[in-house]
């Protein structure tokens, strides 16, 4: 298990390199550059060239990439060209907001999604199942920015229970967490329900019934345990998604965060910031997948023996 973990971590290095090249190329090949945001109207081409040279943007792309990568290897994310601050500071300022929102949303969708899936599966084809699954269908088809606006309208504007926007108090977290969490909860509930129904049809479950175990215990101790294996995979993939996918939601609720930072940097073509943000999101996806795989191995002895 330990050697597997180490092997998987080492494997992340080549993936990281490829991802960094892709990120670097995308942002540099898109038309426009940060200098347009720096120079004053009416500056001469000579002035512009001078600024370009100051940031090293006149050098060949390969050279620029290697400079960025070597700085990265030393833990230096560079300095924002337009925002004029160390990128590390910008990230450090915004990441906690994203982590709080993403973490809580993930927790919300995991706990409630599994609960909803279990309840639906244990009442298969019944009224409760249909009600839960209809709710889930709604949750998974609504775009999150739209859901966010509706929630603001109802709970912030009409009922005045929660603030419309910002990130000053814990109350301001409720609506964004709901907005992101509901979609995830719908996904988790569906996967849990299907996996439980599929597992319930297996031979070993029949034998558990034949051993005289109470049906509820079979569902919760045995069937659910198997049903959680695919759920863990989904959640692992969602860790990265929640961080990056929160962009629209952060925008709707005017919350600081990685997403907001990324949008702002993109519109200004602030290369170092965009690169750092995308790299953080890519890392989150990679680490999330790894975490999902490790938890799965911890839960399933068959996966463990396949590793060695």
């Amino acid at each position: 298990m330990l050697s597997y973990t180490i092997r998987r971590l080492l494997l992340l290095i080549p993936v990281f390199l490829v991802v960094s090249i892709v990120i670097f190329l995308i942002i540099h090949l898109v038309p426009g550059d940060p200098i347009d945001n720096l120079v004053r109207v009416g500056s001469t081409p000579e002035q512009k060239a001078e600024i370009t040279a100051r940031y090293g943007l006149d050098r060949p792309l390969v050279e620029q990439y290697l400079i960025w990568l070597s700085q990265l290897a030393q833990g230096d994310l560079g300095t924002a060209i337009v925002m004029r601050r160390p990128v590390a500071d910008l990230i450090a300022q915004n990441l906690p907001y994203s982590l709080t929102l993403g973490g809580l949303a993930l927790l919300f969708s995991t706990v409630l999604g599994i609960a909803a899936g279990v309840i639906a599966a244990m009442n298969k084809e019944g009224r409760i199942d249909r009600t839960v699954m209809t709710g889930v269908l709604f949750g998974s088809t609504m775009p999150s920015f739209w859901l966010g606006l509706i929630l603001i309208l109802v709970f912030a504007v009409q009922l005045r229970w929660f603030p419309v926007s910002g990130a000053r108090s814990w109350e301001s977290l409720v609506l964004p967490v709901l907005t992101i969490g509901l979609g995830g909860m719908a996904l988790v509930a569906r996967v849990t329900r299907i996996a439980m129904l599929e597992t319930a049809g297996k031979d070993f479950v029949l034998l558990l019934h034949a051993k005289g175990l109470p049906a509820r215990r079979i569902q919760l101790r045995h069937v659910l345990r198997h049903a959680l294996l695919p759920v863990v995979t989904i959640l692992g993939l969602r860790i990265g998604w929640v961080l990056g996918g929160a962009v629209t939601v952060e925008y709707v609720f005017a919350r600081p965060g990685l997403g907001m930072l990324l949008i702002k940097a993109l519109s200004q073509h602030d290369y170092p910031v965009v690169q750092a943000c995308l790299l953080m999101l890519a890392m989150a996806v990679m680490l999330g997948t790894l975490l999902g795989d490790l938890i799965q191995a911890a839960m399933d002895p068959r996966v463990r023996s396949a590793l060695t």
Partner: protein, 323 residues
Amino acid sequence: MALLDVQDLSIDIGGIKPLDSIGFAVDKGETLGIVGESGSGKSLTALSIMGLLPLIGGRVERGSIRFDGMELTRLPEPDYRRLRGRRIAFITQNPMTSLDPVIRVGEQIDQVARLHLGLSGSAARRHSIEIMERLRIPEAATTYHNYPHQLSGGMKQRIVIAMALAANPDLIIADEPTTALDVTIQAQIVQILGELVREKGVALILITHDMGVVAQACDRVVVLYAGRVAESNTVSAIFASPRHPYTQALIGCIPRNAMERGSLVGIPGLVPSVARYPAGCRFHPRCTRSESLCEREVPVLERLASGAEIACHVADKHEAAHA
């Protein structure tokens, strides 16, 4: 009064009726074979006795299942649950898929003793290892900690049998316990089951499609065809003088010594699907001796003086003729 007495049992699964008034009895220390091809309703018979039909959306429509004086068809689920695994144990068809893959096999045996005998953790564990040793599982104490995927098919089936034995049941229902195993392992498993009947006096219902296994292990045999009893008799009588054309055909399918290459024949055709049972005798489309009566009228199950039962219009029912 027999330990288990099934009479006139018909079941319903979503509007189709895969079992039509079947009946048989089995007593302590006795092995009853239920034979028939796939789709004849053998496994559903087992599920009916276990009271597990609701799991597949079925129910007992008519008839009675009496076990030790109790009418199981009217038994409330909590009482039924205390019977399952405790007094009536089940051995499933496929040992490869019958064990929970993420739980150590020993703990799966423990479950039964903890649930029904109220044994604590360590006592249940000693109990399980003892049963494993009795079933000649090598290095039982080590195997106890293995996961199912680390064991061979024959070993897994022994674990399933150990689970069945853990609470000292009175009746064991084994649904094709050897079908998924190698021939050599098959013989061992049949032998283990036979010893249980002889030494502990349990009643065993052995469901199989293999007449060879019947000959080796059973006292009585019920031949099922398309959800009905075709014939039932003692094993020695049924092999000496099979009366129903289907039984004769089944026995004809067993390879014998000195057979010529290519002379082994099967029964032409297939068991009809539940949705399309033919009228009259359900075997008549495949029967070599069918008459026009067979296409129209359902043959009733007649009980002969010797205790043999047969449902056929054309079979010879004179006992003296075979005596």
